[in-house]
């Protein structure tokens, strides 16, 4: 049974959603159970895939057994990179499933069944994106996760959520359509839809404007969907006004998986030599990322309420990943992929904590953190772990991703990027310690010996219950576990990148684009 795992992981949430669709109308209570069991099973399967891929290195599964000639059927390919992303998505999904029952009643008006169907379909889309080895199938999965994202975010009680989701829908459709166009151009140029197939044909005759236009279209489309700074205007409103549960499900995953898609396009489909063979215009992209990092950090500094601040931090983190990926050396790419995992858990921790603290309110002014360490000590402790991750202090994964990214930056000699990373870490420190100060000592400075405000009865952020705390502490624990496991994780990533021909340092002079190292189609 185990050889079906690559497709099995996508089918688990898919069948879960369908079961909820059938049974949910009559027995709404069955849906949380299906979601929890489904995501739990998904975590186990993802771990098994990761464990096997760490040994074998790469695992292809042909749906419908159409193997020869390559490109007829749809191939699901799992290697070191997407096995890790798969596990991260599965664990985040499970934690949100654990978090949802307690939180659901008030936020999603009165349609819990529809929430679970959409949530499981969102997970199906994300697993599908991560696992697929076919460029067009990737578009279909992007659309599934996008549609469910729009619905989940538009379901909320706040009227502004729907306007924000409308803009998100427009921008998301433009992004997905650009990606679709890019795949069309690639199909026109190579006659193949299978990623490995495109790679072999592209490696044979790289110099053509059609491939260049295809690459530009795909990149612009993906940057739009992952909210890279100039194109990310839609993100802050959507996740601020959207219902907290939907934001906790979508924020940590959707942007990160899109970054994974960009990495997959650069490494597997177009190939490292093709992307970085040409002139130095990858430097320009890293400078774009630098702008994204700094702009995100400054917008977060200016934000007055918690969720908008966290959204601006997401924009900044996307800048980390895009910058790391485009540094044209293996360390930068390792940092980018590692940051996908780390940042998913950090963002999840912060958004879960924001969900618990803010309750139904969309706007959670920073002053309302008054004495929060006393009112909700457990929630604030988990929030602190996420915050330390964002600042990048050692035991957490945030430190190690900065560790790889700065090393990549130094090796590429891109000091602007290294500087941006450091400045944004400092700004993060200011942001979060500003909150800690208010949370411990209250917003108005008291007299000598002032011990923080007296305990204020919870306005409407309900005291954290069992499910919330379990999810919160799972996420916070994962932030540290991914940090301590950075050696093993970066090992897996490095081996996967090596197989895909990612050089250690940016080759000063590139060998002419001869058919490069034996590609990995066995």
């Amino acid at each position: 049974m185990t050889e079906h795992f690559p497709v099995f992981i996508v089918l688990i949430p898919f069948f879960g959603a369908l079961l909820c669709g059938l049974l949910g109308m009559r027995w709404p209570r069955v849906c949380p159970g299906i979601a929890l069991a489904g995501m739990g099973l998904a975590v186990v399967v993802a771990a098994a895939i990761l464990q096997r891929v760490a040994e074998v290195g790469e695992w292809s599964y042909f749906v419908g057994k159409w193997e020869q000639p390559r490109g007829i059927g749809i191939e699901l390919r799992v290697d070191g990179i997407n096995a890790l992303v798969l596990s991260a998505v599965a664990v985040v999904g499970w934690l949100v499933a654990v978090f949802s029952p307690g939180r659901l009643g008030r936020d999603e008006e009165s349609k819990p069944t529809q929430f679970y169907i959409l949530f499981l379909l969102l997970m199906t889309g994300l697993f599908g994106i991560t696992v697929t080895g076919d460029a067009f199938n990737l578009y279909v999965m992007i659309e599934i996760s996008a549609l469910t994202g729009y619905a989940l975010l538009a379901m909320g009680p706040h009227s502004r959520a729907r306007l924000a989701t409308f803009n998100y829908l427009i921008m998301g459709t433009i992004g997905a359509s650009f990606y679709l166009l890019g795949v069309g151009y690639l199909y026109l140029h190579t006659g193949m839809l299978n990623m490995a197939g495109i790679h072999t044909v592209l490696a044979a005759n790289p110099a053509s404007s059609v491939a260049l236009v295809a690459f530009t279209l795909i990149m612009v489309g993906l940057w739009l969907k992952m909210a890279l700074f100039p194109l990310g205007g839609w993100l802050p409103n959507v996740y601020t006004y959207g219902p907290p549960l939907a934001a906790a499900a979508a924020a940590p995953l959707v942007t990160k998986v899109t970054v994974y898609v960009m990495v997959r396009m650069m490494v597997t489909v177009f190939g490292w030599k093709w992307v970085f063979g040409g002139g130095g215009w990858n430097e320009a992209v890293v400078w774009l990322a630098v702008v994204a990092i700094l702009a995100g950090a400054l917008m977060a500094l200016a934000a007055k309420d918690l969720k908008r601040m966290l959204c601006c931090l997401i924009l900044s983190e996307v800048g980390y990943m895009v910058g790391g990926a485009w540094l044209a050396n293996r360390w930068g790419m390792t940092g980018a992929i590692y940051h996908i995992l780390g940042d998913a858990f950090m963002t999840l921790t912060l958004f879960l904590a924001a969900g618990v603290l803010a309750g139904r309110a969309a706007i959670f002014k920073l002053e309302r953190f008054e004495g929060m360490f006393r009112r909700q000590p457990w929630v604030m402790a988990a929030f602190a772990v996420g915050a330390l991750g964002m600042i990048g202090l050692p035991p957490t994964c945030g430190f190690f991703s900065k560790w790889f990214l700065i090393r990549g930056g130094l090796e590429a000699g891109h000091y602007g990027y290294v500087g941006a990373l450091i400045v944004s870490s400092l700004i993060n420190a200011v942001l979060f310690f500003r909150i800690f100060e208010i949370a411990v000592f209250g917003s108005k400075p008291g007299k000598h010996g002032y011990d923080g405000p007296q305990v204020v009865v919870e306005p409407d952020g309900v005291k954290a219950k069992g499910g919330d705390l379990l999810a919160l502490y799972g996420a916070a624990a994962m932030v540290v576990v991914v940090g301590l496991g950075s050696g093993w994780i970066s090992g897996v990533i490095q081996r996967a990148l090596e197989v895909n021909g990612v050089p250690l340092a940016a080759p000063a002079v590139l060998a002419p684009a001869v058919d490069e190292t034996p590609t990995n189609d066995h």
């Binding site: 497709v7 419908g64 929430f115 199938n137 549609l147 236009v213």
Partner: protein, 255 residues
């Protein structure tokens, strides 16, 4: 804002036009896409592999059936999404019409003509839809087209009479269940192939279940089963979308 939009449009347009320069000539038979190995295999092996002359149906439901399964999931998602966004359960506002009586609607005098023609047309439409669904193997058609026509027949009823009459024949609980059921038929067939030992959605495995059929004919029947699943979901979702949008989510006094 307008100037900014214009600049972006001209920029992208220029880039795309510059890309057209290297395109293979329109309609060229030896272009990488048309002359490629993949296309040749599809056209040459559609009969050999699946006994289905219509190459599009074979590619749609067999070679790339994983894609089509999630395409059906997209339609199901659309139905659920619109239900989640619009559906309102409280009964304030909107009066519930008498059960399938003709409501006194303005422009009543045309009611007879529209009512009778629609009553005459709906049955043939649904019959034709089943033909389109079944005949997908041999002529352009298949699950999506058949499903949409069935959905359209219910829409015709809703437009000709009122939403309540078509809701009586296709109530909310049923079209939600059918939405999920259709995709379950599709994915269930694929799962059955997996349980029978072959890869997911490899219909050759169905020969063990179907009496006296070789692997190729099993593939053809597999395609047909999948098309039915698609038709079920598409019809249910199309009608659900219309019902939700027309009645602003109250499913009562709609368009």
């Amino acid at each position: 804002m307008r100037a900014f939009g214009l600049i972006i449009v001209l920029l992208t347009g220029g880039l795309l036009l510059w890309g057209v320069r290297d395109f293979p000539l329109f309609g060229a038979a030896d272009s990488p896409a048309n002359g490629g190995v993949v296309t040749a295999y599809y056209l040459q092996h559609t009969m050999q592999d699946a006994r289905v002359p219509n190459a599009v149906t074979t590619v749609l439901a067999d070679y790339r059936s994983y894609d089509t399964m999630f395409e059906t999931a997209v339609i199901f998602t659309a139905g659920i999404a619109i239900f989640a966004i619009l559906r309102v359960f409280d009964d304030r506002g909107g009066r519930r019409l008498r059960k399938s009586q003709d409501a006194p609607v303005k422009g009543d005098q045309y009611r007879i003509i529209v009512g009778t023609t629609s009553r005459l047309l709906i049955a043939p439409i649904q019959l034709f839809a089943l033909y389109v669904l079944v005949h997908g193997h041999h002529s352009p058609g298949g699950g999506f087209q058949g499903g949409v026509i069935i959905g359209a027949s219910f829409l015709l009823l809703a437009v000709a009479r009122n939403l309540q009459t078509s809701l009586d024949r296709f109530p909310e609980r049923r079209f939600l269940a059918m939405g999920a059921g259709g995709v379950l038929i599709y994915a269930g067939t694929g799962l059955l192939c997996m349980l029978l030992g072959r890869n997911f959605l490899d219909y050759g495995a169905l020969q063990a279940v179907l009496p006296a059929t070789g692997p190729e004919m099993a593939r053809s029947h597999g395609i047909f089963a999948v098309e039915i699943g698609v038709a079920v979901t598409v019809s249910a979702s199309m009608f659900a979308v219309y019902a939700m949008l027309a009645s602003r989510g109250r499913l009562k006094d709609g368009l």
